[in-house]
Symmetry: C2
Subunit: 438 residues, 2 copies
């Protein structure tokens, strides 16, 4: 496999010391980082490398990690805009989903991959259709957590129970991508769509196979009221009582939380995914992010699907997360840009149990690297680089997105990918689908 050398003005390592290296070199081969340090100390001669990326004003950052999305929902972008979550599901999403074909999903996934790569995302957690996700990852190999969805409190809910018997099939599909790019999560959809028995079964299977669990948790007031009425508990208390809350849980949303809920999340080391744009757009409310961070809870970031937030751009989420919290709490000091940057990188890696592999630019980690154009008018002066990236960087400023040592995006282009064909097919299929509900 190719040996690559990157030389940039700055590398934001996101290592434990949060070192920012000036005049930095990063070397990698076989998808793994072999050197991070100053250019002058590179332990190889230039001729050792097959490929040298030289960006005089470049800023290398760890690839961003999107911890909650429904990638193929790019098909629905703009079609479900002005509804609360319940109607959004019942009037738009479920009718649309009942008509989805595998081909629709395949192109929906590919379109979202292009969007994520061009905005610096290298890893994402998908909660949607497993098989078609794998098919699309065979074409464009991002790093992913693929969630096996479960919900039994719906018509035909029993079919999901069968999935427990087919786990090996899912493992095999994930492994078929190779390079350990795909990890599996069990995905109980939400409290209001999953029975207690289903959640208990998932907890058992997660324990037995050491699998992540990914779930929508405390997203809306409706959900809180539902749980309160049915069980006399908050959603967090209910899940805790079942025993499903632990460090393998990736809990998306966590908007409505009481102090006692925050205590539980902290004690059980639950990972919380903040999706500020989606929560705002659907008028769900605002996660108490500052309180969660102060409690030492691992909070990462997600875009949610394009049907709700309309964009898979994590720069939006970093920016919105900080600004929103300040405006709501009337506290201009916390959280800050670095908090948001960590949420989109190191915290995400930790939530996915991948902190030994991604989330920072360090030797022996995977080469998931994004190079930003430091000479963009949005990113100067070079006074506080982290602040500039979090508040002002846009996809226009992304030069390279590298996943597992492979350049998947380079200066507006996707090497070896027929984007015209993908986007054309995607658009055609999406419009056909969307026109069925007009």
């Amino acid at each position: 496999m190719e040996k690559t050398l990157i030389e940039v003005k700055y590398a934001i390592t996101c290592n434990r010391n949060f070192d920012i290296i000036k005049n930095a070199a990063i070397a990698f081969e076989n998808g793994k980082i072999t050197y991070v340090g100053q250019i002058k100390n590179i332990p190889y001669s230039r001729s050792y490398f097959d490929n040298i990326i030289l960006e005089e004003y470049g800023i290398a950052i760890p690839g961003l990690i999107n911890c909650h999305t429904h990638a193929a929902m790019n098909l629905f972008r703009g079609a479900c805009d002005d509804l609360p979550l319940k109607l959004w599901l019942e009037k738009k999403i479920w009718p649309l989903e009942s008509k989805l074909t595998s081909e629709d999903l395949f192109y929906g996934n590919l379109s979202s991959f292009l969007e994520m790569l061009s905005s610096g995302t290298t890893t994402f957690v998908d909660f949607y259709y497993f098989n078609e996700l794998i098919d699309a990852l065979k074409v464009i190999p991002l790093r992913a957590v693929a969630t096996i969805a479960f919900l039994d409190q719906v018509p035909d809910g029993e079919i999901y129970w069968r999935r427990f018997k087919e786990l090996q099939k899912y493992f095999d599909m994930a492994n078929s991508i190779g390079d350990e790019l795909v990890k599996i999560a069990l995905g109980p959809h939400a409290i209001y769509t999953c029975s207690k028995e289903l959640l208990e079964k998932i907890m058992d299977v997660s324990e037995k196979h050491n699998l992540l669990v990914h779930m929508h948790v405390s997203e809306t007031l409706d959900e809180v009221h539902f749980t309160k009425e049915k069980f006399g508990l908050t959603p967090i208390e209910y899940l805790d009582k079942i025993g499903i809350l632990n460090e393998k849980m990736i809990a998306a949303h966590c908007v409505h939380l009481k102090d006692k809920d925050i205590n539980i999340l902290q004690k059980k080391k639950v990972n919380c995914v903040h999706n500020p744009s989606s929560n705002l757009k659907l008028a769900d409310g605002v996660m108490p992010l500052s309180e969660l961070l102060k409690a030492g809870i691992n909070v990462c970031l997600g875009t949610d699907g394009a049907a709700s937030s309309n964009s898979l751009n994590l720069f939006n989420e970093m920016r919105t997360a900080v600004l929103l919290q300040r405006g709501v709490n009337l506290d201009p000091k916390f959280p800050n840009a670095k908090d948001a940057f960590l949420m989109a990188t190191a915290n995400g890696a930790r939530a996915l149990g991948l902190d030994n592999h991604i989330g920072s630019i360090e030797e022996n980690k995977k080469a998931d690297i994004v190079i930003i154009d430091g000479k963009s008018p949005r990113l100067w002066p070079e006074y506080d680089i982290i602040s500039n990236i979090v508040y002002s960087c846009t996809p226009a400023d992304i030069l390279f997105t590298i996943v597992n040592g492979k350049i998947l995006y380079e200066k507006g282009k996707f090497p070896n990918i027929d984007i015209e064909n993908i986007m054309g097919e995607f658009n055609k299929k999406a419009l056909k689908l969307l026109n069925t509900i007009n």
Copy 2:
């Protein structure tokens, strides 16, 4: 002057009917639009034109209008991040401003122009240093409202009074740019920095010369408390009592408003500028945008300066304006994407008294046009184009920014502008300045 023809897939005219033309052509010469309609009906032969822009998937929109910024504050980006407005001014901004040179400001302005052009902004309202703004506009001619700042409740405040005697000098400077590109506003800074006498004088001069007035209004709770204590009135009541509130007033921020304030703003036809990112980042609070829109008040959008919001990207402000309001009011239906789009275009033009010239793509209006890349993965499917633009478009998707018929930005480049030199000088000067307050 060049005769130009644009052919695109869609033109979002933003005219009174909000017509979206498919397979659209836009012709302009001498900076003025001569045809808007379907390609098949163009009343000229192709050979008539000197320049033809053909973008098969392009989407033409009116140039965006940034109704409140301090352009040269790009110099301070990232240096004043985690402070409330009062300390932000006293500890950072005022000490830095005391050291500013004309050259600093010149390059600060140019850097902001590059940032605005590359994110689709063609017109902006600047509230900062007049002379250096004009110098910079001579190099890169955006459309601008240049504000003559006034504040007398500060040390050396009397020097601002002299400006009333030098008005002709300001008019001449603005006219020196030509093409009616620059309009003048009188800028009383804020209630807490301007005496009653100064505000009254400004009202008189505005009336006499038919000049816009641009002011920071009801930005923080501190300001509300100050006005309440000193005058027993809300900021809006106080300004109304002075008589300065009318359709020539461009009131930036308007965060803290009582119902009676909203009534006054509506009755007096005041134009309000929403700066959601700045208000959030400085923890000022949230403008009651939905209420203002429902009251029929003309609300437009601003980025504020990069020292407070860190970015001059109006796409951020459109998106944030909608999301924030929904999350705070728990209303997923209002405002919507179209409301935000109008705020950044037609409403802005109206606030500036330029609605006969800009804010829409119509015959006889100025050719201030932005072409977006409709085949970006962020902007498909082509189901609801306005929604896609407001929620998902980024500077990466801007192909052309045209001001007064001149292409000032084209696919990542600024024709005839030495960006390397500008950004290099800008960065050097900014860092020198910022290092004085460390």
